[in-house]
């Protein structure tokens, strides 16, 4: 028994001597002592010496939380030749000295906690972690800026990476943007070189127009089925000349890249700098598929790359790690009937506005009204459309990027068209970021953007213009602003495909379908599921610099696994007593990691041989959460290091 003072942190409200003396009366305790800082080198040396001199078979350290120093003391024990799982921590700091003011009460509780730890240690057995191999290849799901950056960082470290992207090109939402805040760089100018880098990297393989169909396995050994959808183009033969697109007579499809503001052909590349520069045939629009006639593209294609017979292809590959980088979609404002989106053509979303301002966009960069093609005289921006909202209409969270991109939009309008009046309705303006507030203030002070604190209640069409009715909370009045264009700063929303992908990866998700990180502060790019990492907005709203930073962090964490030859597992995992297991499969249903399967096994029950349906644990997947042990109705499932007997012994010791 080793009791730590933690300076005055513990010794201030716990009488250390009483704890030491009380422990000597507990069964199994042969040696007890104390030290001011047990985690310091001197304390650790004391731990090693105690084990060696007294031939200890287990130790209890009464100190801070095991989250803090359990690993430290396990290492010290191992150095002295003791199995590291024969170390128990009694948390007498966070659970005791820090929450008590009265020394008598604190001391009494510390004694009880110490007793519980001793009772548990008496039932501990040495545990030995298993090992498994690592496949030295990473899978990145999503080919936006997050996925591209993660892939480049892993590839530059010398490991193979595959990117699976569901649309025909990589680039993601960033490729649709015009300029980026707060520096106003052109988005395409900084993104497209990275897209090309990814395509040309000898360690990176792109699977565009592809989706993940199935994932099985565990950290180090994932096996994944990728569905490469039929492009109807032989990518190896296509030279990207674009003759097919020119000749295609079906031109009524809405361009996804231009947010439906322009049409595209049935055979198309989403935008000029698409990577790969290989077209796709949209089978729902193609006349050949719809009527059997046409085939003009096939006739003009010199390298004979068009193949109407092409089928989806399933590619099976194995990976050591998987990085989710599925990004986001702007929320559709259709539930906000008061804004008239969908009915009033001059009410548009911010992403649509990006396309209208973009020189490569549907209007060649001219900002024109959707209703009559005229130049607007007045523009109103509305922030928080679907953000910080009532749960039945939008999202409860702040989407984080809208204040800044709206300031950017307002500034760009005033810069390009100084005669246009610009107003912004806001709840709060949030600009925490390097050079962010300076940027917003420039919009107000230098560019004369009219910021109005308040929400909009209705947008009505009156005499061909839009009448925006809102509140001005600073003036405490209802106001009306006449506008020719209204731009809705719509919330960041997780991709619809994120939740099903999370289920496939057995990665936990939050209530908003963002991937959950393992620890909000200390493990922000790791999923709780081993071997799954999170890159970019799929984990929560982020701007581009944060996305890129997180993408790099996810790459480093992934490399931490890829660079190992063997993975050492956590031995504190669940296991069934096959004689007690009744095959009910309750544990399989509650396991958040998919570590439990059922199989028919021959059971030798005291010489009586039967074949029974029993639970099996995949030790590489189990994270030791214990959900199965409390679910199991027959008590067959037990968690090593935290067995039912050990926990009951702790409870008994506390109640004694």
């Amino acid at each position: 028994m080793l009791v730590c003072w933690c300076g005055s942190n513990i010794a201030g409200t716990v009488d250390i001597n009483t704890v030491v003396e009380a422990s000597k009366r507990e069964p199994g305790v042969v040696y007890a002592t104390d030290y001011q800082y047990m985690c310091a080198e001197g304390g650790q040396a004391m731990v090693r010496r105690a084990i060696e001199e007294h031939s200890l078979t287990g130790i209890v350290v009464s100190a801070c939380s095991p989250r803090m120093h359990e690993t430290t003391f396990r290492k010290a024990a191992a150095a002295a030749g003791l199995n590291p799982y024969m170390v128990e921590i009694a948390n007498i700091r966070e659970h005791c000295s820090w929450v008590h003011k009265d020394k008598e009460v604190g001391t009494e509780k510390a004694v009880v906690l110490m007793r519980a730890a001793i009772a548990k240690l008496n039932l501990n057995t040495p545990l030995f972690p298993g090992e498994s191999g690592v496949i030295k290849r990473a899978l990145v799901i999503g080919g936006g800026i997050a996925g591209i950056q993660t892939a480049l960082d892993i590839a530059d470290a010398g490991y193979e990476v595959d990117i699976v992207e569901k649309s025909p090109t990589i680039g993601g939402t960033m490729a649709q943007l015009d300029k980026t805040f707060p520096t106003l760089d052109c988005a395409a100018c900084i993104l497209t070189p990275k897209m090309v880098d990814a395509a040309q990297h000898d360690k990176i393989t792109l699977y565009t127009y592809s989706e993940v169909d199935e994932v099985s396995g565990f950290v180090g050994n994932f096996s994944v089925k990728i569905r490469q959808k039929a492009r109807c183009i032989n990518s190896k033969l296509c030279n990207g000349c674009g003759d097919c697109i020119e000749k295609c007579p079906a031109k009524k499809a809405k361009s996804e890249f231009d947010e439906g503001l322009a049409n595209r052909k049935a055979i198309y590349v989403p935008f000029a700098q698409a990577v790969p520069n290989v077209p796709v045939i949209d089978q729902t629009q193609c006349l050949k598929f719809k009527t059997g006639k046409c085939g003009l593209c096939e006739k003009v294609c010199l390298p004979k790359a068009i193949n109407f017979e092409q089928q989806d292809e399933i590619i099976e590959k194995e990976y050591g790690v998987i990085i989710a980088a599925t990004g986001f979609r702007p929320l559709s404002p259709e539930r906000y009937g008061e804004y008239g989106y969908g009915q009033l053509p001059d009410v548009i979303t911010s992403l649509e506005f990006e396309r209208l301002m973009n020189a490569a966009g549907p209007t060649g960069g001219a900002l024109l009204r959707r209703s009559n093609g005229e130049k607007p005289k007045s523009i109103v921006f509305i922030q928080c459309v679907g953000s910080r909202a009532e749960p039945d209409k939008g999202k409860s969270y702040c989407s984080k990027i809208c204040c800044m991109y709206t300031a950017k939009h307002a500034m760009l309008v005033r810069d390009k068209y100084p005669n246009i009046d610009v107003s912004v309705f806001y709840i709060d303006v949030r600009t925490p970021g390097k050079n962010f507030d300076e940027f917003y203030r420039r919009a107000v002070e230098q560019y004369g953007v009219n910021y109005i604190k308040g929400m909009v209640g209705k947008i009505a069409e009156e005499d061909g213009r839009l009448r925006v009715q809102g509140s001005d909370l600073i003036e405490d009045t209802q106001i009306f602003v006449d506008a020719d264009l209204v731009v809705l700063a719509t919330a960041v929303e997780a991709q619809a495909s994120a939740r099903p992908l999370g289920t496939m990866l057995t990665a936990s998700m939050d209530q908003n379908n963002f991937f959950s990180e393992s620890h909000a502060k200390l493990r922000p790019v790791e999923s709780p599921t081993a071997g799954i990492f999170l890159s970019g907005v799929c984990q929560g709203p982020k701007d581009i610099p944060e996305t890129v930073a997180q993408a790099g962090a996810a790459a480093v964490k992934a490399l931490g696994i890829l660079s190992k030859d063997k993975l050492i597992g956590n031995p504190c995992i669940a296991g069934p007593d096959e004689l007690l297991c009744n095959g009910c499969a309750s544990c399989e249903k509650v396991c958040p990691y998919g570590a439990i399967t059922y199989a028919d096994k021959e059971i030798n029950d005291h010489g009586h041989r039967t074949t029974r349906h029993v639970a099996e644990i995949n030790e590489a997947i189990c994270q030791g959460c214990g959900a199965c042990t409390v679910t199991c109705p027959s008590g067959a499932m037990d968690l090593k290091g935290f067995t039912n007997r050990q926990i009951m012994a702790e409870v008994d010791a506390i109640c004694r």
Binding site: G337, Q343, A460, E461, E462, D463
Partner: protein, 262 residues
């Protein structure tokens, strides 16, 4: 139709708004909707009392609701104001224990009433019992080519969590109705704005302003006529239109389409 509706017309439908009532009854007969007028109904109270401790003005609505429960019928309403009062009083009784207790203490019903009755507006009945697709088949004189603006006003829609009628910001039930009778619905921005209601007594200038706004907005979008379910809306709008966009009760157009308008 197995269930008979218990019909609550309300005072205005027997006086100022006789045609709203008459055309509805003719149409229901034609459509074969079993319906019986509530015996000895009283005024609904006309205005929903906002004060939570106001009990007396909720009692006559409670009486109608309890009567419908006794007869095991849904209570069918037509006037927007009556529908509003019935629906909200019913919601109060169902959700507020204090109001429920006081209403029952006053009324001394044989079995305490706890909001069991379902209040159905005529339009909801058309949508849910007959169905707009079926209604379309029963139309003899489709109003083809007629450009009609639906005017909802506010009483049918708000508060939306209690009324549960339609999307309060972008309602569509009346447009669906207009489609069913063969007309061309005209969408305009102010179709769910208030007409001014009883403020007409106190501040007629304000009512003129809001009604003109509604009428102007409908006219600009090409509406030839407006339809409403509310006698007060019709009164206010009619008073302020210049004759270009007259307002009718939706039941009149229904009767016309079904060929029962006399």
């Amino acid at each position: 139709m197995d269930k008979t509706y218990l019909y609550y017309p309300g005072c205005t439908l027997k006086t100022k708004a006789k045609e709203l009532d008459a055309y509805a009854l003719q149409s229901m007969e034609m459509l074969g909707i079993p319906c019986k007028e509530l015996d000895e109904w009283q005024c609904c109270g006309a205005v929903y009392p906002q004060a939570t401790d106001e009990i007396a003005t909720r009692l006559s609505a409670a009486r109608a609701l309890e009567e419908a429960r006794q007869k095991d019928c849904d209570l069918l309403t037509l006037c927007s104001a009556c529908h509003h009062v019935m629906k909200r009083v019913n919601h109060d009784i169902a959700s507020d224990a204090d109001i429920r207790m006081k209403v029952n203490n006053y009324s001394e019903f044989e079995t305490p009433y706890a909001g069991e009755t379902k209040v159905v507006h005529f339009l909801e009945m058309l949508r849910d019992t007959i169905g707009f697709a079926e209604l379309k088949k029963r139309v003899l004189n489709p109003l083809t080519g007629r450009k009609i603006g639906a005017y909802y006003g506010c009483l049918l829609l708000r508060p939306s969590n209690v009324m549960q009628f339609d999307d309060p910001e972008n309602p569509y039930i009346m447009e669906e109705f207009l489609h069913a009778i063969g007309a061309e619905p005209v969408l305009y921005s102010y179709r769910n704005e208030c007409c001014g209601g009883y403020v007409a007594l106190d501040d007629p200038a304000l009512v003129q302003k809001v009604c003109t706004k509604v009428l102007h907005s409908a006219e600009q979008k090409g509406a030839e006529v407006l339809v409403t379910a509310c006698p007060l809306c019709k009164y206010n709008l009619t008073k302020h239109d210049s004759g270009d966009v007259p307002t009718y009760y939706f039941t009149e157009l229904l009767a016309e389409a079904l060929g029962v308008k006399e």
